[in-house]
Each structure stands twice: as C-alpha cells, then as structure tokens.
Assembly symmetry: C2
Homo-oligomer: 128 residues x 2
Amino acid sequence: MRIGELSRRTGASRRLLRYYEEQALIVPDRGPNGYREYDERYVDRINQIRGLLDAGLPTRIIKQILPCLDKPRSIHFPDATPQMLALLATERDRLSERIDVLVRNRDAMSEYLAEVARCRAPEDCGTQ
Amino acid sequence: MRIGELSRRTGASRRLLRYYEEQALIVPDRGPNGYREYDERYVDRINQIRGLLDAGLPTRIIKQILPCLDKPRSIHFPDATPQMLALLATERDRLSERIDVLVRNRDAMSEYLAEVARCRAPEDCGTQ
DNA sequence: CTTGACCATCACATCAATGTGAACGTTTCA
DNA sequence: TGAAACGTTCACATTGATGTGATGGTCAAG
C-alpha cells in the first residue's frame, strides 16, 4: 500500500504520514522508485499514533511507549525497561486525569443542551 | 485578585492569562492603575477554558460556546441562537468520540502494565 | 506520446501555547 | 527613600502539529 491509500484508510493526510515518519514514529519501506510502501499493520499503527497524539502525548513520548503497545500483545515485553514502564504508568495516569476533565466538560455541555430542550417544550423560559 | 494570584490559583502562567484575554476568552476589569482585576469566578473560568482547550477545541470555538456554559447555569440561556446550540451539540459529540479513543488507549496501557506485572511475580516470562 | 493520478522533496505558513526580555510604571514595606 | 515584588505593553522566538504549494519524477491508460 502506498501513502495515498494509507491516507484514505486512516484519515491522516499524506503530509501527516510523512511527518510521523520524520518524527521516527514509523519507518515504512521504500520501493525501487522511492515510493513509500506500507503493509496492513500500518493502518492500526497510524490510528494508535493518532489516538495517543489526541491524548496529548507528544511525539517524542509516543515514540518511546509505542513499542510497548505493539500488536501481538503479550509475550512481547522482554525489552521494556523499568523507566519505560514508569513512563507508561505516568502517562496513563495523566491520561486518566484528562479523561475526567473531558467527561466533566462533555457532561456540562449535555446538561446545558438538555436544559434548553426541556425549556423549549413547555413554551416558557427566558425571563422566567 | 490580580494576575499573579490568579496565575498561582489556576496554574496558568501570567503570559497565558494575557493570551486568553488577547483571544477574547476573558475580559477582566482594569483598576485605575491599569492592573487587571479578576474576581473569584475567573478561577473556574480559567479551568474551564483549559479543559476545553485540552479537549481539542480551538480558542475561536471556545469563545463561542463559553457563554453557554456560564456559572449560574439555567435561567440564563436567553440569547443562545440555534446555530450556537447546533455548534455546541456538534462539539459535544466530537468530544464524546475523543473520550472514547482516549479511554481505549488508557485501557490498552493499563492492560499492558497489568500483563507485565502479572508476569514479574511468578518469576518466569520473556521467552516463555 | 500525452494526460492524469500518483509519488517525491522542500519550503513557507498557520495556530496554540509558551518563553524571554526590554522598557517602564506601581505598590508595599522596612 | 529605596529596594523588592508586582504590574503594564510590545515584540521577537520557538515548538508541535498541521496545511499548502511549487517543482519535478513515475506510471498506467487512452
């Protein structure tokens, strides 16, 4: 698969795929013509990267913890150094905190929308 | 309260507080000497802004939906235009999606950490 | 062979969030 | 009164994640 198809399948722009490569998050093969060649696994990989970026992790951290989250999970963590595990645990906790904040904000939005909706039916609100 | 204290109480740098003001997210009063004067409500306000930014909303969107989320909730939504409500609903849904992704990632991290921990106790892993 | 759809690199632009520092006024307190 | 701590504006710089466009190579189909 070349960059265009991967872009289509992941929703990440070509530019962004090249950026991830520049940041050493992925290392696609190159065809004889210089074209990047991605195999199936890159679809998940890209989605995972985007999820982690979305979680607020910077690329340099993602680069470190990504090997821990590789697809054939388990029986695979031979080279996880204690520091990497600590880093991973720290980031997970930070992520949990962020999730809490986000959930609170979403709930506040929902609450507001619900109030407005509730108020629009009985036909009385505003100054009441 | 002046900018230093607000900074201390919210964790946002003075610089950032001025930046939010520049982005029209907040409009603090000014004392006769030109100093910014913030009242208590700004503490929550700043935290809310940071939460929304953290949620991935750009400042220009936050500026629009923030009035909807104001502190004395309810009996306050007289000027919410239909477009604002639609925007708010859209953003809430996007936020929900993001939360799902984040939760999945956190769970993957936890799962990995749990596996490593489980494996370290029985004193056999790696090549097994 | 040419056209169109790909691909490549390079470079410039933007946006959010920050840092830094200059140059300067204010408040407080010993 | 003078120093320390705090405030102001302005401006330039950087970082991370992206967008956009220029310029040019590759390749398949008409």
